[in-house]
Symmetry: C2
Amino acid sequence: MDDLINKLREVLGDDGVLSSGEISSRACSYWDSSPLRARVLLRPRSTAEVSAVLAICHGQGAHVITHGGLTGCVNGVEVSSDQVILSLERMNAVEDIDPIGRTATVQAGAILQTVQEEVAGHGLAFPLDLGARGSCTIGGNVSTNAGGINVIRHGMMRDLVLGVEAVLADGTVISAMNQMLKNNAGYDLKQLFIGSEGTLGVVTRVVLRLRRASTSLDTALVALPDFAAVCHLLSQAQSELGDNLCAYEVMWGDYYRAVTAPGWHRPPLDRIHPFYVILESRGVDVERDSERFLALLQRELESGSVVDAVLPKSEAERTSLWNVREDFEAITIHQPTFLYDVSLPIRHMQEYIERVQTAVSQSWPEGCCQVLGHIADGNLHLFITPNAAGSQLHVDVDSCVYSPLSDYGGSVSAEHGIGREKKGWLEHSRSAAEVQLMKTLKRALDPANMLNPGVVFDL
Amino acid sequence: MDDLINKLREVLGDDGVLSSGEISSRACSYWDSSPLRARVLLRPRSTAEVSAVLAICHGQGAHVITHGGLTGCVNGVEVSSDQVILSLERMNAVEDIDPIGRTATVQAGAILQTVQEEVAGHGLAFPLDLGARGSCTIGGNVSTNAGGINVIRHGMMRDLVLGVEAVLADGTVISAMNQMLKNNAGYDLKQLFIGSEGTLGVVTRVVLRLRRASTSLDTALVALPDFAAVCHLLSQAQSELGDNLCAYEVMWGDYYRAVTAPGWHRPPLDRIHPFYVILESRGVDVERDSERFLALLQRELESGSVVDAVLPKSEAERTSLWNVREDFEAITIHQPTFLYDVSLPIRHMQEYIERVQTAVSQSWPEGCCQVLGHIADGNLHLFITPNAAGSQLHVDVDSCVYSPLSDYGGSVSAEHGIGREKKGWLEHSRSAAEVQLMKTLKRALDPANMLNPGVVFDL
């Protein structure tokens, strides 16, 4: 057993340090079921232990890959057999909930859904929500600046974090556990650790901003004749529901038809329409909120901008509607299928999608392109199944999706991040000066390139 | 005329470069009417010109102080006679408003109120609002992460900025003019320039996030018997008005009595109460929003947690109510009066204020301590008039206000920033490791310590 591992065992004890043999029964990630391989996996129980083990790794020049819930979509957690995994799995406590200040103090390994549920027990809500809620961790949400389905109303993870504790590569603890909405005493250092994908420090604890729990909940799935109607309904919903509008999830017709094909989800509406939208409203005035929601739908149905609609009559029916949006196994069962996560201004979306669809069908006549998105956030997800093979396939499909973006000021990643998968395309969305400044930050905080090396960019 | 100024004139022309003689008719700032003195004042018209003049200054080792609206409260714009002023006064255009994507692209020298008004012309709102709205600039709002009266609903300036263009000390342009709500392509570099008080770069252009304009507006000034009632009403208002609650401004009784003393504002309510609150609601359902607002007040009046209330019957009457909150000349006319801007969790506020009041009255028996605040944001403003003299006075009053904060996890600056005035107290709110990391960032981005040297901290 090598010297590094001896030192790590002194800090973490035997059950805090798992050998390569002990982790081989674990999967690499949600997306990759092959056996996990690494030099060692560390399971600290506190920020002090994270600090101690990073200082040891720093002293020995070891590369450290931080693991949360392993649900990320951009291959940010890949590890090689000579690297150290730092897992936050034993730092999963909800330490404190303050109902007056509306904050929750949690450890980075806490599961998102656990936090949502504990907070709900206090009559409050933590509004970040995404399909991976049952597995993803708060630390991962911070590191990737997670988005999801409520961004239209509550913003990204960055908007929901008041304080962060993080450990730098050399073991220095930066404890910026601010609890106030306002704190302008010097630079807001937590911003460094939000969305930098674990490359500048390891997030260990977080102060979350909570909201009151809503009392009203109204949901509908509607069908629309064209993208102009989709934009019109969004605008009307924003005007008439105000801040109650908390989700506006658009599915292009081909996506809807794929996931409601025979054997998959039962179609809640006919499968013939060009567009489908799930819209959801939450507020504090049960009776009046439902009235407004129904009045909006009624009027848009009468005017023809909505052509059909269904409202769930139970929580089970509501879950079924959402499953159409969130469970896309009917698409990903066809391999290879590549998932994209781009953003661009709404006004360019239709033209952009037509360009991608044209490029895909020209290159792969049997290929499929399915689209859905949080359009109010400027965010589209594309599933592209070329129904073809070839060593250049992934690169060529990437090119179809990413190349047109620069014409619209778009981004190659809305919410998933860059990871290892997209780093070749980073300069497509960001200028050379911007990427240079990112590298300047990385060198200033982690000169040995020890934390998640090769994520976001290569130094 | 020195070589530096010759080179600067080549870039900016004669009217872009004002000599020390030409600027002596200008005041130093809103707070300091003495004549402005500096080596030279530069008035670039574009980001390219800012880049060119910073590169020249960098080459010659000149220190550059950036000037916006000069309304900051922490002496961040002080300049010495050998330093260069970079004024954004000619970069004041609202370049573009996108009503679909709900963004405004503005130059950093644009006045906040101008932006508010131009945006309103498109049926939209830019929700940042503060007393200095008629003078402060968007660039200053970004650099100081401005707060103000609508933070309870819409957040700080950081939450309202989608993109930033900034110029580094050496002239490198970082153009991160993102227009989307979601963009996780690499580090979010704009965060470096928000709230760092011009020490890491000069902000030249900004993409602002707009909101729909509200249609309903309800305002009240209420009187309350104690701080528990103030917290109770806040909680009730948050539950029953939901996100419509956009302002909750608390005035301690002594503040209210000072600004409504004979000869100053007419008191809208009797001057006998311990606490006063202005609450304001904005929504999209005119009739129902007013019903809810009135029902809340009615019930709280009946239960006795609100003891008196007044509702403005016209916009003029509403302005009069707000003037009681925003115009505090009745206090600052007594010199010296020191203004503070602290934040701490609500649950500690009453105890904290009692400690400060006790310390002030023990040290200065004739002294006054007037308090008001955005309490939902954790933010209190204190005016302390010692009615005494002495060279140590400011330092001693600072100590009364700041010393107890560390017991409550509080901050020496909620929204005004550190500037030069509070830098001696920075480590009172932030750990040594945090301050060290701030200095690491400063050295990485501005190794020559050229931009706003001595602001936030000394290197």
